[in-house]
C-alpha cells in the first residue's frame, strides 16, 4: 500500500512521463508545431501595453494588504504609504534630471496630456491663444486640441516628412506672437519615429514658448534629461514600461503657471486632488528603477530582434514597405504596410495563430478611417489600410520572430489571393 503523501508526487511523475512521451511521439521539433501545441501567445504589442514585471507586482502587494492607509492621514500607520509615493517621486525626478516637486502623479498618459494642454491654455490665455502641435500626435493630444479649438483657441497641426519627422522650418514658420504652447511627442506610438526633441526645445526656448512632450512611448526606453532637451512639461504612463496600468505622471517645470486639473483635495500640491493610487505609484517606482538600469542592454537586444524582423519581412514579403524611418525609430517598433490587403483581416488571422499585433488602421477600435499617422506620412488610403504594427519586448525570441514571419507570409498570400486589388494589379502587370 502506497502511503498517502506519496500519491501526488507519483501521479505528477506519471503526468510528466506522459507529457514527455507525447512530445517525443509527435516529434514537436519545429518551432511552429511546438508553439501551436503549447498554445503559446506571442505578444508583439508592447506599444499598447507591457507585462507588469513580477518584481513590480511584488512591490505593490503590501500596499493592498498591510499598508492600506490613506497617505493623507496623520497617523503613523500611513507613513509607509507616504514614503512609497515619495520614493517613486524621487526615482522619477532623478531619472529626468528634475526636482521632486516637479513630478505630479496622474492616472496615466492621457490624463497627463489633457492636463498639460488644457491647464496651459487656461493659464496663459491672456498671453495668447495659439498652440502648435503635429499631425501625428496621439489622440490624447489631438482631441484635446480640437476641444480647445471649439473654445476659442487656434491650433496649428504641423506636417511631417515621409518618415514622420516634424519639419523644424515649418515649426519656426508657425510660431506667432500669441503662441503659448508647442506640444510634440517624443516618439510616435504607431511608426516609432523619434522626433528632434532637443531642437524643438531650443526653438521653443528661444521664443519663450512652453514646450510639452508626450513621452509615453519614450520614457524608460530612451534617456531623457528635461534641462538638456528644454522640456517644460512631459507626460508618461507606467504600463508602457512594465509598470501597472492606471498610473502616470506629468512633469511640470518649476515656475510655470499651472492650474489644478482635478479639484477636491490637497494631494499633489493641490494640483491633482484624489487619494493617490499608492500600490500603482509604488509599482511605477520599481518599474522605472528597473527600466533605467536595464535601458541600454534592453535597447540593444530589442534593436537586434527588430532589425531581424524588418529585414526578413521586407525581403520575403513582396509589395511591402516599412513605415517610419529605418533606423531613427524606437528600438522595439516595426510597422509594415502590405499592399492589396486590409489590416483587420490580417490581425484576426494572426490572432488565430496566437500572435498579438495591432493595425495602424483604427478599424478595430470602431472607426473606419485609416490611421491619421500613416496618412500624414503620405500613404494613400488603400495602403494605409493594410498596415501592421509589431512592437517587441526583450522577452521575445528569435524563434518567435521566425514563426511570426512564416505566418505573415502565409496570411498575406492568402488575403491577396482573395483581393480584387491584387487581381487588378496582376492583370495590369501581365
Amino acid at each position: 500500500m502506497v502511503e498517502r503523501k506519496y500519491i501526488i508526487p507519483i501521479a505528477m511523475l506519471g503526468i510528466y512521463y506522459i507529457i514527455e512521451n507525447v512530445d517525443e511521439a509527435f516529434n514537436f521539433n519545429t518551432t511552429e508545431r511546438r508553439i501551436t501545441y503549447m498554445k503559446q501567445t506571442i505578444y508583439l504589442d508592447n506599444a499598447a501595453t507591457t507585462r507588469t514585471r513580477p518584481e513590480v507586482v511584488e512591490v505593490m502587494i503590501p500596499y493592498f494588504t498591510e499598508n492600506y492607509g490613506n497617505p493623507s492621514s496623520v497617523y503613523e500607520f500611513s507613513a509607509p504609504c507616504k514614503q512609497a509615493i515619495a520614493h517613486t517621486r524621487e526615482t522619477i525626478a532623478k531619472s529626468l534630471g528634475a526636482k521632486t516637486n516637479e513630478i505630479y502623479f496622474t492616472a496615466g498618459g492621457t490624463e497627463s496630456d489633457n492636463w498639460a494642454i488644457k491647464a496651459t491654455a487656461e493659464a496663459y490665455a491672456s498671453k495668447g491663444k495659439h498652440i502648435i502641435t503635429s499631425k501625428i500626435e496621439h489622440h490624447a493630444v489631438l482631441h484635446t486640441c480640437e476641444y480647445l479649438e471649439k473654445r476659442g483657441f487656434e491650433v496649428t497641426y504641423l506636417d511631417v516628412d515621409e518618415y514622420g519627422t516634424v519639419k523644424l522650418d515649418e515649426l519656426k514658420k508657425a510660431i506667432r506672437p500669441d503662441t503659448i504652447l508647442i506640444s510634440i511627442m517624443f516618439a510616435n506610438n504607431e511608426i516609432g519615429t523619434v522626433e528632434p526633441i532637443k531642437e524643438i526645445g531650443k526653438i521653443a526656448g528661444a521664443h519663450g514658448i512652453l514646450f510639452h512632450t508626450d513621452a509615453v512611448q519614450a520614457y524608460g526606453h530612451i534617456p531623457i534629461n528635461v534641462d538638456e532637451y528644454g522640456i517644460d512639461m512631459l507626460s508618461s504612463s507606467s504600463h508602457k514600461l512594465n509598470g501597472p496600468k492606471g498610473v502616470g505622471f506629468l512633469y511640470i517645470r518649476t515656475g510655470l503657471k499651472t492650474r489644478s486639473f482635478v479639484h477636491g483635495g490637497a494631494q499633489e500640491r493641490k494640483r491633482r486632488g484624489g487619494t493617490e493610487n499608492v500600490p500603482g505609484i509604488a509599482g511605477y517606482g520599481k518599474a522605472v528603477e528597473i527600466a533605467m538600469a536595464s535601458m541600454e542592454e534592453r535597447a540593444k537586444k530589442e534593436t537586434e530582434l527588430r532589425d531581424y524582423l524588418i529585414e526578413r519581412v521586407i525581403s520575403e514579403v513582396p509589395y511591402t514597405r516599412l513605415n517610419g524611418h529605418r533606423t531613427n525609430r524606437l528600438s522595439n517598433n516595426a510597422n509594415f504596410a502590405f499592399q492589396f490587403i486590409e489590416g483587420e483581416s490580417l490581425l484576426i488571422m494572426l490572432d488565430s495563430n496566437g500572435i498579438c499585433g495591432s493595425s495602424g488602421s483604427a478599424c478595430t477600435s470602431g472607426s473606419l478611417d485609416p490611421s491619421h499617422v500613416l496618412l500624414a506620412i503620405g500613404l494613400p488610403h488603400e495602403i494605409a489600410h493594410g498596415s501592421l504594427r509589431l512592437t517587441l519586448s526583450e522577452e521575445n525570441t528569435k524563434e518567435e520572430i521566425d514563426f511570426v514571419v512564416e505566418k505573415i507570409k502565409e496570411i498575406v498570400a492568402r488575403l491577396r489571393s482573395m483581393s480584387p486589388l491584387y487581381e487588378d494589379f496582376m492583370k495590369q502587370t501581365r
Binding site: E344, E382, H385, M418, P420, L421
Partner: protein, 145 residues
C-alpha cells in the same frame, strides 16, 4: 467581437475566386473606406445563378458577408437573388457589430451590381433592380466631446 458564423465565413470563405467570361460582374466600394467587393455571376438561359465567385479587400466582416451572400444567391433565379438583402445576410451570420453593418450593405450592392451588368449585357430588366451605387459608405456623426 464577431459571431462564430462570421469567424467561420471569414476563415473558411466560400466561393472565393473568379469566373472567366462571367454573365455579370460587379465591383463596389472604395479603397478609401477600406472595403472593395467584386462578385462574378454565371447565369444560365433560365436565369438561374449556376455559379458565383467573389473577391474582397476588407475587414473580417467584409469577407464574411461576401462569402455568405454568395452562398445565399447560388442556385437561385435572378429574381430570387433580389431577395437576398443586407438584412438577410446579417441575420444568416447571426449579426454584425454596429460599425460593420455597412459591410452587409456592400455585399447586397455587389450582388446588385453584378446582376445589373448581366441585365445590361442581355438587354433585360430585373424587377426592383436599380442602377447600383458604386460607393457605399456610412459616416458616423461625431459626438460632441
Amino acid at each position: 467581437m464577431y459571431t462564430e458564423k462570421v469567424m467561420d465565413h471569414f476563415q473558411n470563405p466560400r466561393n472565393v475566386g473568379e469566373i472567366e467570361n462571367a454573365s455579370g460582374t460587379g465591383t463596389v466600394g472604395n479603397a478609401k473606406c477600406g472595403d472593395i467587393m467584386r462578385i462574378y455571376l454565371d447565369i444560365d438561359k433560365n436565369q438561374v445563378i449556376r455559379d458565383v465567385k467573389f473577391k474582397t479587400f476588407g475587414c473580417g466582416a467584409a469577407v464574411a458577408t461576401s462569402s455568405m451572400a454568395t452562398e445565399m444567391v447560388k442556385g437561385k433565379t435572378v429574381q430570387e437573388a433580389m431577395e437576398v438583402t443586407n438584412k438577410a445576410v446579417m441575420e444568416a451570420l447571426d449579426g454584425l457589430p454596429p460599425v460593420k453593418v455597412h459591410c452587409s450593405l456592400l455585399a447586397e450592392e455587389a450582388i446588385h451590381a453584378a446582376l445589373w451588368d448581366y441585365a445590361e449585357k442581355n438587354g433585360i430588366t430585373i424587377e426592383g433592380l436599380e442602377k447600383p451605387k458604386s460607393d457605399i459608405s456610412e459616416h458616423d456623426e461625431d459626438e460632441e466631446y
